[in-house]
Amino acid sequence: MFLGPSLAVSAVLFAIGTAGVLLRRNAIVIFMCVELMLNAVNLTFVAFAQRLGVSGQIFVFFVMAVAAAEAAVGLAVILAVYRHKETVDLQHINLLKG
């Protein structure tokens, strides 16, 4: 049920997430776009789980756990960078640029 439409929505959401990562300069917003991409993939997993067994739903569970860990560590990194640079604008965080 709704397999094709779900995969289409998932593809669109993933593309929007990609565009968001490229469009924004704020590190936190870029991070939220990554979460959006993770959610798009979750939708694919759930859509396929209807006909391929509940293992897909369990994988979504793991993706959520990894996303939570990633959010905690990533936001801590952003906090540390902000303390150092007083900004989260990626244009000003270019230490590796030489």
Partner: protein, 173 residues
């Protein structure tokens, strides 16, 4: 069109619109709140797609815990005030649009994809399983049997994340 299809499409369209609003709002706080809308809409889609427990988790963990963390950091850093915004210029927007469209073009085959019949379960298998074992039980049984080791490793991952977050965010240890 059945009632379920109407609800499905309403929330699918809303999820996409809210995602679009999320990446185009200048204010990070507005972006975060639009992302919450997308996550809620996705929770509805999960519920329609025979995964009500995942839908509940989506609301609790994603919209509840993770987005509160995001909002907390946005407010802590005080970047939520209206200002010039952080969107890239015209060139950046064009690059983003082209590459986003490129990803969409590459994913165009995804909706047409169907797993081979040989590995598909008969229609209604998952539904029957949920009726037999309960919505939570049908996910919990394989999670604590087949996937027990990955589950335990996940707890290790979360422990590492907690320690890492404290170490990174603390001024002086």
């Amino acid at each position: 069109m059945s009632f379920l299809a109407i609800v499905y499409w309403a929330f699918a369209v809303f999820a996409v619109v809210a995602a679009g609003m999320c990446i185009t709002r200048r204010n990070p706080l507005a972006s975060a709140l639009w992302l919450v809308q997308t996550l809620f809409a996705l929770a509805v889609l999960f519920t329609i797609l025979d995964a009500p427990f995942i839908g509940v988790l989506q609301v609790l963990v994603y919209a509840g815990a993770i987005m509160v963390l995001f909002l907390f950091v946005i407010m802590l850093l005080n970047i939520g005030r209206p200002g010039a915004g952080d969107l890239r210029g015209l060139v950046g927007a064009a690059v983003a649009a082209v590459l986003g469209a490129g990803v969409l073009f590459q994913l165009r085959a995804l909706p047409r994809m169907a797993p081979p019949d040989a590995i598909q379960l008969p229609a209604g298998t998952v539904e029957a399983l949920q009726r037999q074992q309960g919505v939570v039980g049908s996910v919990a049984a394989p999670l604590f049997e087949t996937y027990l080791v990955p589950f335990e490793i996940t707890s290790l991952l979360l422990l590492a994340a907690v320690v890492g977050a404290v170490v990174l965010a603390k001024r002086k240890l």
